[in-house]
């Protein structure tokens, strides 16, 4: 059994500081790694090599880029609202770091060379997952304010798009999380991981998992949902006018947010730090000590690979289709599924012991997944009405046109046969 809520709030101050610093360092290093990894993977998908010069396998490329970025000239446009312009990147980046404080990296461990036993998690609270949602919604402010304060049309449009997108997809995301709360009976991340000791939640809550994965891509503005920074339309979107360190902060926040949503998905649906199925059965120590950190980062990086894969393979959505998808597909399905899960929860509470509810959940999950897939399938097009076989008019509407399908060009008549009056051809 892993740590519970009572395990938190008893660390000495130096342990708390150590954990906070570790979370910070891990996130910064992870960002550097993810940038390199994304460039390498996308390069491989496009038959290129990617950065391979600086350091082993090019691993130090992002570090070099980061230094270069920080040393660039920092420009504040004349039309910018200076205070808000400087504040915006900070507002984006701070929540990105804060959300990671409630992510469980592992069970309780003993810190080497001391007798202190502590959970591998900075803190936990009864509302940890809602806390993440709340802090993430503060991060949206940074993007909107950055877009507004730049004094540029591209930035403003990017900021507005991004706020609309993130608010819309946050709804679907929150609804997907509710079923996890119902299933686990708690909103604390460490206890949700405990509740998945038997069965990881992506099996019984498959529709929620799918909806969460889709909406998390929308929530962090990544391809194919990267409309706020659509290069072809908005140059760089909300960060068009940003340069140097301020731009670096936006960049950092984007990658940390990607890691955050992946970590949340891992914690809520893939058993958090628990060893993948099969390992814990043959090896008792798989879920103890520092090993769970490995499983956790493995799952999280798998999600990040998924992000990169999406970026490498899918084109960007059109904005109205994207919003339609969020509001008219994801949210209604989530609502229906929540009612279903709540109903099953009642069945389980009222008829405890009389039904094997695991199979009930699996059956319902499969049913709902089929429903989701059916909804995602494109509608069968009505067969086009047969074009009326009208006589071919070479000057329909007053300008020369080719024949429509089913029409035929009039038989070509040799010029010499018809005109004897010497037309110039």
């Amino acid at each position: 059994m892993g740590p519970t809520l009572e395990s938190f709030g008893q660390d000495p101050v130096w342990v708390v500081i150590l954990k906070a610093v570790l979370v910070f360092v891990v996130l910064v290093l992870l960002t550097l790694f993810n940038i390199w990894w994304e460039r390498r993977v996308v390069a491989r998908m496009q038959h290129r090599i990617g950065p391979n010069r600086n350091g082993p396998f090019g691993l130090l490329q992002s570090l070099a880029d980061g230094v270069k970025l920080a040393l660039k000239e920092d420009i504040i446009p004349k039309a910018a609202d200076k205070v808000v312009f400087v504040l915006a990147p900070v507002i984006v980046v701070v929540p990105a770091f804060v959300t990671f404080s409630v992510i469980p990296f592992g069970p309780e461990v003993r810190i080497p060379f001391t007798d202190v036993v502590t959970p591998l998690q900075l803190t936990d609270m009864p509302v940890a997952v809602i806390f993440v949602m709340a802090i993430a919604s503060i991060g949206i402010y940074g993007i909107v304010l950055g877009g507004w304060s730049s004094g540029s049309t591209y930035s403003l449009l990017g900021g507005l798009r991004s706020s609309a997108q993130m608010i819309s997809y946050e709804v679907a995301m929150g609804l997907a999380l509710i079923t996890v709360f119902l299933q686990a009976g708690t909103m604390s991340t460490s206890e949700i991981v405990n509740a998945q000791a038997g069965l990881w939640y992506f099996v019984p809550l498959l529709p929620s998992f799918i909806i969460y994965v889709i909406s998390m891509v929308g929530e962090v503005n990544r391809a194919p949902f990267d409309l706020p920074e659509a290069e072809g339309e908005l140059v760089g979107g909300f960060h068009t006018e940003y340069s140097s360190l301020k731009f670096a902060l936006f960049f950092l926040a984007e990658y940390i947010n990607m890691a955050t949503v992946s970590a949340i998905a891992t914690t809520l649906f893939l058993g958090g730090w628990r060893a993948p199925f099969g390992i814990a059965q043959v090896w008792e120590g798989a879920n103890e000590g520092y090993w769970p950190v490995l499983w956790f980062f493995g799952k999280m990086l798998a999600f990040i690979f998924f992000f990169i894969w999406l970026r490498g393979s899918l084109p960007r959505l059109r904005y109205d289709q994207f919003m339609d998808f969020g509001w008219k597909v994801l949210i209604p399905i989530s609502l229906v599924w929540i009612v279903g899960v709540a109903g099953m929860r009642i069945v389980r509470n009222e008829y405890a012991g009389q039904l094997d509810q695991t199979w009930l959940f699996v059956a319902a999950g499969v049913f709902a997944a089929v429903l989701v897939v059916l909804l995602l399938l494109p509608e069968r097009r009505q067969p086009e009405p047969e074009p009326e076989r009208a006589e071919f008019d070479a000057f329909a509407g007053g300008y020369p046109v080719p024949p429509m399908p089913g029409q035929e060009l009039p038989a070509r008549v040799p010029t010499g046969a018809t005109t004897h009056d010497g037309g110039n051809d």
Binding site: K78, D81, V84, M125, P126, V127, I130, F131, M133, A134, I135, S137, I138, I140, Y141, V144, L145, W148, L156, L160, S163, A164, I167, M187, G397, G398, Y399
Partner: protein
């Protein structure tokens, strides 16, 4: 208590700033500061659920406010200081002061003892405690509020809804319409000409040139033309010359305001 003494001045300053700030967007931002500080105070007082919900609900609401400011008032909206009603400012200051005095007097009359019962209320867990109260004692109020919110949402939808009278024009319809326009009025079929490209500029405020050397009006955004912030061909030609070396008599931009806020 430490949190209170740190946050209280922040909140008071932010609240005052919200009232006094000229730009509507700054007001919205300061309102967010007040709300988030309030949320932190909830967290300090052992109400984690209220903390999270306060942030989610109010940041969402303020973001909406922010968007409405941008949509309805405009990007650079700032308050007009012209009094529309004579004596309004004086009256509002007096009324505000009076209300403040009333509030201070009223609150000062109340003597607050040590708060008790927090641990009892949180005994079964904070969220469970709130749920128990919300779905038993205040169930009716909760449901009525829900009904009110649903009515409001439906009302907004009804007000914003527009019945479509004609079928939506598809891409094919639009293409046919363009062709008809061309056939009947000779309106140009293709896309508008792009802005001009010179040695120095390919910016949107540089017009394309017609064969006779005059600027093509359709190559510029109407908004830019109306504002007068476009670059005329002679102007840009002199700028190109300046780059080439002859930096004498450089013609200013058409629209160069006094003080030169040019590019």
């Amino acid at each position: 208590m430490i949190a209170f003494w740190i946050l209280a001045p922040v909140m008071v300053v932010a609240a005052l700033g919200m009232v006094l700030a000229r730009k509507a967007v700054h007001c919205a931002l300061l309102l967010a500061v007040v709300m988030i500080s309030l949320a932190v105070l909830y967290a300090v007082q052992d109400a984690p659920f209220l903390f999270a919900v306060q942030i989610i609900v109010y940041t969402g609401a303020i973001l909406m406010l922010f968007l409405f400011v941008l949509m309805l008032v405009g990007v650079d909206a700032s308050d007009s200081v012209v009094e529309t009603i004579r004596g309004q400012r004086l009256a509002s200051v007096l009324l505000g002061l009076g209300f403040g005095v009333l509030l201070v007097l009223g609150v000062a009359q109340v003597s607050v003892g040590t708060v008790v019962g927090l641990s009892e209320a949180n005994a079964g867990g904070n969220i469970e405690g709130i749920a128990a109260v919300l779905f038993s004692t205040y169930f009716l109020a909760f449901e009525v509020t829900a009904a009110l919110l649903i009515t409001a949402a439906l009302g907004a939808m009804v007000l914003a809804h527009r019945e479509r009278l004609t079928p939506k024009a598809t891409q094919a319809d639009l293409a046919a319409q363009r062709m008809r326009d061309y056939a009947e009025h000779g309106k140009h079929l293709g896309p508008l000409p792009p802005p001009g490209v010179y040695a120095r500029h390919n910016a949107v405020d540089t017009p394309a040139l017609l064969p006779d050397g005059s600027p093509a009006p359709t190559s510029l955004s109407r908004v830019l033309t109306a504002r007068g912030s476009t670059l005329s061909p002679p102007g840009s030609a002199t700028q190109v010359e300046r780059i080439g070396g002859s930096d004498e008599d450089v013609a200013p931009r058409d629209d160069a305001p006094e003080g030169g806020a040019g590019r």
